[in-house]
């Protein structure tokens, strides 16, 4: 910074020396040129003053003014080579000195302005450099941060992949437990009734009526077990959607049969408000079952914390004017807080300790793949309604 402000002659004595030398040169030129031309060439003194002030500064300028005034007084104001001045030459000499003074003053003023301008510019440059350095370091930090963020995102991606894997395993685990329970129950009934049947037959006087009744119940149990297996198989076996023209009400009723056990275990009463003569929709019935089952299970779950009032889960179907079938699943649970509401459909978002947060996102993607919409409406603290729409008979071929 100092370097940019350095002046041509920074050393004090040297600057004054320059002033003396310039005045000396001017005097010498004036005297030399006076010999051939006769007139005194004292303009050189003006140049000496200007150059001194300009390059050496105000102080040397004043010295040059003083020296040249003395030189002019001594050599060029009659009587020559004397310090005396004739009265008639006083105005002339005074004008000369005044001109010198003005020149010095003007030049030094100009010089000062220029200096302060230069200083301002230097400062500006310094500040620009400073800011540039700052910006550079900020930029570097930003680059580091971005790299960090990218790394975190990659980690997140890895975690998500891992989570998806765990979810698959957990889902399979949950499903297995659920299948085990659903199948075990009717099997227990089969065993109890078959044992009873044998017991009635083994008595000294076999009771055929009781034995038959027990055998009938054993058969019913076995049928129930096989129905459970068929339902579960149809739920999980298919991967690619197989669309056909389906009656939504039938799908709702089939799904309700699957949710009934869970509902009664939680003291939830399933209620249906199904529109008769609902037009057919073109859809994959298994996927629709998945969606409805998911919504119903959520609704039942939402009401487990409710005590002291009835716990109905209302499943309704309607026909909208725009040629859409609408299905709604309304619970009277504890409701959904607004901040949760906006995140309901985010993958991996869940409010339940055992939830995996994939039910609603998957449901929504299924409905959207069918050209419909799935959304939630909050009824405040009195529950939540999930609705989805599907276009009537789209792509139908009969």
């Amino acid at each position: 910074m100092e370097a940019t402000r350095a002046k041509p002659f920074s050393a004090g004595p040297l600057r004054y020396g320059v002033a003396v030398a310039l005045v000396a040169v001017a005097l010498w030129l004036s005297l030399i040129l006076q010999i051939p031309f006769g007139n005194p060439f004292w303009f050189f003194f003006a140049i000496a003053v200007i150059v001194s002030t300009w390059f050496a500064g105000r102080g040397p300028g004043w010295l040059a003014v003083a020296l040249s005034s003395l030189a002019v007084l001594y050599f060029f104001i009659p009587p020559y080579r004397s310090w005396n001045v004739k009265p008639q030459d006083v105005p002339f000499f005074a004008t000369f000195v005044l001109c010198q003074v003005i020149a010095n003053w003007l030049i030094s003023w100009r010089r000062q302005t220029e200096d302060s301008l230069r200083r301002a510019r230097d400062e500006l440059e310094a500040r620009v450099a400073e800011r540039t350095t700052e910006l550079k370091s900020v930029n570097e930090a930003l680059v580091t941060q971005m790299a960090e963020q990218k790394r975190v995102e990659e980690d997140l991606q890895v975690a998500r992949t891992e989570l998806a894997r765990v979810v698959r395993i957990t889902t399979i685990g949950e499903l297995t437990a659920s299948i085990a329970h659903e199948v075990n129950q009717p099997l227990a009934a089969v065993v109890a009734n078959a044992d009873a049947c044998v017991a009635w037959l083994s008595r000294q006087q076999p009771n055929l009526a009781e034995a038959r009744a027990a055998a009938d119940r054993a058969t019913q149990g076995a049928t129930r077990a096989s129905e459970v297996i068929v339902r579960i198989r149809s739920l999980i076996s298919k991967v690619t959607p197989e669309k056909s023209r389906v009656q939504m009400n039938e799908i709702i009723q089939q799904t309700a049969a699957l949710a009934e056990g869970q509902a009664s275990r939680n003291n939830v009463v399933l209620e249906f408000e199904l529109l008769r003569d609902l037009p057919l929709v073109y859809a994959d019935s298994i996927q629709l079952q998945q969606v409805i089952l998911n919504l119903m299970m959520n609704g039942i779950e939402a009401m487990t914390g409710v005590n002291g009032r009835p716990r109905p889960l209302i499943v309704a179907s309607q026909l909208l004017s725009a040629g859409h079938v609408q299905v709604s699943v309304q619970d009277f649970g504890i409701g959904v807080r607004p901040e949760v509401m906006s995140r309901l459909f985010e993958p991996f978002f869940t409010t339940r300790s055992k939830g995996i947060g994939m039910g609603l996102p998957i449901s929504r993607s299924i409905i959207e793949a069918h050209g419909g919409k799935l959304w939630a409406e909050s009824d405040g603290e009195h529950g939540t309604t999930f609705r989805f729409t599907l276009p009537v008979g789209e792509g139908s071929t009969g």
Binding site: V191, E210, S264
Partner: protein
């Protein structure tokens, strides 16, 4: 004498699954036992039960009040009845909890008929024993309650092993009076000997000095 209907044991079956309920009922009836079935723990609590030897066949997992909840409720109400738990999962912590609370047996679904009947027979036998003990204790208590306050004081000192003379000193009465009280005590409690009297009073956990 009580009628047969009032002493004949009874089996209570509580299961939310109708088909299982009916199967068990049929199975238990086939060996000549009385059965009453309930679809929930609440239903069971609501009815008035006969005072006869009994046992409870209880599904652990039920809507509403679970099997374990019912067990807790019964023990809180000081209702003693042997419980045979049935579970579909054979879940170990649950069995441990039930056993700690005094479950009689823990069977996993599907239960073999013979296993269930065996457990029921054992449970009823154990309930019969318990009831006999309880009844005996009640009778002893009734006899001891019939003692006068003075006789009770004498009883306490007698079972503590004091001689008649010592008791007379302690209670500031004549030795003859002590003897009279003592004879009344032996008579009223139907004690055959001093040792018998001591055993009975221990059963009642009488405070002794």
């Amino acid at each position: 004498m009580k009628e047969k209907g009032e002493t004949e044991p009874i089996v209570f079956v509580i299961d939310d699954d109708r088909m299982i309920r009916e199967g068990m009922q049929s199975l238990i009836r086939s060996v000549g036992l009385r059965v009453e079935t309930f679809a929930s723990a609440q239903e069971f609590l609501a009815v008035k039960r006969l005072d006869v030897p009994a046992c409870l066949v209880l599904d652990v997992r039920m809507p509403g009040l679970s099997g374990l909840d019912l067990q807790l409720k019964l023990s809180e109400a000081n209702i003693q009845i042997p419980i045979i738990f049935i579970t579909g999962h054979g879940d170990i912590p649950m069995s441990v909890r039930a056993m700690k609370e005094g479950a009689h047996e823990f069977l996993t679904k599907p239960v073999r008929g013979q296993d269930l009947l065996d457990s029921i027979q054992k449970a009823i036998a154990s309930d019969r024993e318990l009831r006999k003990d309880r009844q005996e204790l009640n009778e002893i208590r009734a006899r001891f309650d019939s003692l006068t306050p003075r006789e009770k004081e004498v009883l306490e000192l007698v079972v503590a092993g004091l001689l008649n003379k010592q008791i007379a000193d302690r209670l500031s009465m004549s030795e003859l009076t002590v003897k009279t009280h003592r004879a009344h005590v032996m008579e009223k409690t139907q004690a055959e000997s001093l040792a018998h009297l001591v055993r009975m009073s221990e059963k009642l956990k009488l405070p002794r000095k």
